[in-house]
Symmetry: C2
Subunit: 235 residues, 2 copies
């Protein structure tokens, strides 16, 4: 991690990670349990109690989490790669020769057709992996266009490999391609993606993000990475 | 709801819905809380206790939930529209003249760029809404191709309108288009989608879903809807 970590920060990150993992497991069990209504309601009451304990102090939409650093692309609650997000598998995206890759195995919370990954989930994951490929190449942008070709269904509970690499650059636009495949057959794409990412003009960055601050209240705009720390270097 | 509901089923659905809502709120609070490590760890312990209560009895990947009916497209844990899914907003997709639509307001769990919806989340939601448009038209298929054009960022905590309608049909293929817009400016698309859905051939349905059973252990294959009950008729 590129930002200098204090002991407090490391402790907070460990606790955010622990809560993310616990919620992820709770979500997974909630869609597979076959207990009856009374047990479901008891779990709901426990969930409400946990939420009440967390709700005593909350940030607004415009204030970034204390652990986040948009210039470094550290986003602990990112819904695909964030360790603190119960929605995220989470994907650990690492830099490799020529791009990025990530392994994951998706459980029943991600289901579309019975026993297969929801087609939109494949799109969600690929959008993030393509975006991370841009970051890894020292670029920053927002999705401008995303095209997905679904060749075969993506199975649940099966090791998957996601890959992405930057193609060409044309001014503020960059083309990126990627795929989802079985980890055991990495070159046989189940879903292929091709995207065009666009770096907003400075006046757009100002327009979109003018009210965003860091946890200390200082203005904070996303932008070109000084280095690509959202992406592990694989070490 | 088209399936005949017994009292037991209605009670189970109410409990699944209550747990889904409680978990959704817990997930939302977990990404916005600013409490310290001790409080985060306490919430994690409560989440683990809730999961342990649910884990005493679980279904396998191949067994559909008791409340589901794939022929009717009732899928209570669908990650976009399922009332029992903590990942889902959930979208309540209703049938309208010429297609389907849904309103939603997305909170911080769905964030990509600061204060905006993750581009992949827009893709996830649109994939489901396009799929529901096919169901509403009496068709069934899996995503074959999905193209998304991102015109403007989609804001969090803002009322959104999603729409989709079936275009042409060509044998087993159907083209569907849709959009995300601000609810107050429904004709000014922020994201536009165009997709091609493919109905699998009977031998593919057998290949993909041969091991799927309902909660009673009877073989259960997805297929063309007898009617499109995943989509409310708006009444």
């Amino acid at each position: 991690m590129a930002i200098e970590e204090t002991t407090d920060e490391a402790e907070l990150l460990a606790a955010v990670t622990e809560l993310g993992a616990a919620l992820r497991e709770l979500v997974a069990v909630s869609v597979t349990t076959t207990v009856g209504p009374a047990e479901l309601r008891a779990a709901a009451a426990q969930a409400r109690a946990a939420a009440a304990g967390l709700a005593v102090s909350r940030r607004s939409r415009d204030q970034l989490p204390a652990l986040d650093d948009p210039a470094q692309f550290r986003r602990v609650y990112n819904p695909v790669s964030g360790v603190g997000s119960a929605l995220a598998p989470p994907l650990a995206i690492r830099r490799v020769d020529g791009g990025v890759e990530a392994e994951t195995t998706l459980g029943l919370p991600y289901e579309g057709p019975p026993s297969y990954v929801h087609g939109g989930m494949s799109a969600l994951l690929l959008d993030q992996v393509l975006s991370s490929a841009a970051h890894a190449a020292g670029l920053w942008g927002m999705t401008g266009r995303l095209e997905l070709d679904y060749r075969r269904p993506v199975p649940l509970e099966t090791a998957l490999l996601l890959r992405a690499a930057v193609g060409g650059r044309h001014g503020r636009r960059v083309t990126i391609s990627g795929s989802i495949a079985l980890a055991e057959r990495p070159d046989d794409a189940l879903v292929q993606a091709r995207g065009m990412w666009v770096t907003p003009r400075p006046q757009q960055v100002e327009e979109y993000f003018r009210s965003i601050t860091d946890a200390a209240g200082r203005p904070s705009r996303p932008g070109r990475p000084s280095d690509a720390t959202a992406v592990d270097d694989g070490s």
